[in-house]
């Protein structure tokens, strides 16, 4: 690489590096540092080392100022399973639809892609309130059940409502990468597989799934991450019955004035999500290599 080329690369990469450094790495470092400091009496921090923030979560505590409570691990586990469930439901809904839309004529495809991203045009809060109105027992859903002579299900303020809300807001995140992968699928391979005597299930498992795996993995990751840390959906639709770890972080900053503990919880979410993703992607990579 000539010095000129090198200089050009440095110049081209500088804005992105600077941007990520200031707006991504900077806040991250602040959270990491705060998670190991003493909480200030009125919010903020005192600059002395304090490991009890993590002790409260994982099981060591002095028992006087800080007490270990297993609720944090339990809520973390629940958040992970809510995130996973959201991914699975989104995937199940989006996968067949992606195939269907990929086969449509060009102008119809654009229309449907537009329709799927349409909800982004309205505020998230407004859309979640709309769900509150739909799910309440006297709402359209409840009325439909009553009209059919059935007892309306107790959906609002339940974990199911939280999953439903999250699936609703994250569907486009799953759909778009999935659609890109399905659209690029080499149909000749599918036909060849059938010609060579593979059953439809074999074709699906050996040809279609591996080829669309990047889309499945990409969609799953970008749904899973924000779903695990979500707090607005459980806030509006869960009513504390679908409490997630994000709500506990929010509580630390907005009512308990314990920024270091909130930071510690945030670091734990990040750590756990990272571990899950690394395991997942290395498995996915292996599966890809086998193909």
């Amino acid at each position: 690489m000539s010095p000129r080329e090198r200089a050009r690369i440095v110049v081209l990469l500088a804005p992105a590096t600077l941007f990520l450094g200031v707006f991504f790495l900077g806040p991250l470092v602040i959270i990491a540092v705060y998670s190991l400091l003493t909480p200030g009496l009125y919010g903020g921090v005192e600059w002395t080392f304090y490991h009890w923030n993590f002790g409260r979560i994982f099981g060591w505590a002095d028992g006087i100022m800080e007490v270990f409570q297993p609720v944090y691990l339990r809520i973390l586990l629940r958040s992970l399973s809510f995130g996973l469930l959201t991914v699975l439901v989104c995937l199940t809904l989006c996968y067949p639809v992606a195939f269907w839309i990929a086969r449509l004529p060009q102008r119809w495809r654009m229309l449907f892609l537009f329709l799927i991203t349409l909800p982004f045009f309205a505020s998230l809060i407004v859309r979640l309130y709309a769900w509150l109105l739909i799910l309440k027992p006297s709402g359209p859903l409840g009325m439909a059940f009553t009209a059919l002579g059935m007892e309306p299900p107790e959906l609002l303020y339940s974990p199911a409502a939280v999953i439903l809300g999250m699936v609703y807001i994250f569907i486009p995140f799953m759909f778009l990468p999935l659609f890109a992968a399905v659209d690029n699928l080499d149909r000749a391979l599918v036909e060849a597989s059938a010609d060579l005597g593979a059953t439809p299930f074999q074709t699906f498992r050996k040809i279609i799934v591996p080829q669309t795996l990047p889309g499945i993995a990409g969609g799953s990751v970008i749904v899973f991450i924000p779903a695990v840390g979500n707090f607005i959906v459980p806030d509006i639709l869960g009513g504390a019955n679908g409490l997630m770890i994000g709500n506990l972080v929010e509580q630390q900053f907005l009512s308990s004035r314990n920024w270091p503990f909130g930071s510690a919880l945030a670091m734990v979410i990040m750590g756990v999500v990272l571990v899950v993703l690394v395991t997942f992607t290395s498995r996915a990579a292996k599966a890809g290599a086998v193909r």
Partner: protein, 338 residues
């Protein structure tokens, strides 16, 4: 050094835009828009309004160096903290001749006992709204928690750490400002014992009361505004005891428009203005003559214009200091109880 560097360009910008503006930072829906319109009409000063949803949110933003705001509306205990932290400007509003209209009982701040910083703004109670058609008459918390079993209807509590634990402390016979871990634990145990009857911890209960999905809800007196045409929805300040809140009008030390802010405080001393605010907000005012100027449905409503006997069973929150951590743990335990 961070703050002045940031403050300077912002202040310059603000003053360049217009010499006569005033930036309010208030709770959502906590001022009658008419009051701001009247202020602009009277003084020519343009008013902007930003909102927050908790004292802590406001404090965190001000501490983080949010500049450009002139006036905030902290609860009394938060005012105490802000005075201690040196965030407020001393307005000497108590030296204004019209200050005599303020009922001295509402000069509750420990750090500002003679109101030389802030002007007492408004106060209200936190009680129970109930749909009488479903629940029949309700007197207090015991009646409230009996509703689900008695009628099969649903009830909700506020999604608020201090309010819910405060109710638990009241029901177990302690101060809502207790810092004794055993008392706080007892309060949490009481709430957890009622947890199964509570459909949700939420602030969004008023819409569900209107639609009939909730039969009763723990809420602020200001909720009256939703039920103007629904006489079957009633409000009660529980007999066992309840909490009250009071917010004061404070000028920030970094306020870019201190003169305009001072004029707003003086403007709000007028009884007609305080009454105008109350008539839309359904809360109480510390301005004595203003209480005679409110509409009849407020003046004659003992739940809004509270008689002394009821006042005696109300408690107001104070800052908990480090004991807030005991509350935080109890609150996490309540919210995650199965």
């Amino acid at each position: 050094m961070k703050r002045p560097l940031l403050a300077l360009p912002l202040a310059l910008l603000a003053s360049a835009a217009s010499a006569e503006t005033l930036a309010l930072y208030n709770w959502g829906d906590y001022i009658n828009p008419e009051v701001m319109t009247r202020f602009t009409a009277e003084t020519g000063i343009e008013v902007t309004l930003d909102t927050y949803s908790s004292n802590e949110e406001m404090l965190a933003k001000i501490q983080a160096g949010a500049t450009g705001y002139d006036i905030v509306f902290p609860s009394v205990w938060m005012q105490d903290i802000m005075v201690k932290l040196g965030l407020l400007h001393e307005t000497r509003i108590n030296e204004h001749p019209d200050f005599s209209r303020i009922n001295p009982a509402f000069m509750r701040s420990k750090e500002d006992p003679d109101s030389s910083f802030c002007l007492p703004y408004a106060w209200g109670t936190v009680g129970v709204f109930y749909n009488e058609d479903i629940t029949g008459p309700i007197n207090g918390w015991a009646d409230f928690f009996a509703i689900p079993e008695r009628t099969g209807a649903k009830i909700s509590l506020l999604d608020d750490m201090r309010e819910v634990l405060g109710m638990g402390l009241i029901m177990t016979g302690h101060s809502v400002n207790s810092t004794d871990p055993a008392e706080i634990q007892a309060a949490a145990d009481y709430v957890i014992s009622q947890r199964g009857k509570v459909t949700a911890f939420t602030y969004e209960s008023m819409a569900l009361m209107t639609s009939g999905d909730l039969a009763a809800a723990h809420f602020f007196v200001g909720g009256h505004v939703f039920f103007l045409d629904m006489p079957n929805i009633k409000y009660v300040i529980p007999v066992e005891g309840a909490t009250m809140y009071q917010e004061n009008v404070c000028v920030l030390k970094d306020a870019p428009h201190k003169e305009a802010a001072q004029r707003f405080l003086e403007f709000y001393l007028q009884p007609e203005i305080a009454a105008l605010n109350v008539s839309q907000q359904f809360n109480g005012t510390p301005n004595i003559p203003a209480n005679q100027l409110t509409p009849d449905f407020i003046k004659n409503n003992p739940n809004v214009n509270v008689p002394d006997a009821t006042l005696a069973r109300l408690q107001i929150f104070e800052d908990l200091g480090a004991a807030i951590r005991v509350y935080d743990r109890a609150w996490s335990a309540i919210k995650t109880a199965q």
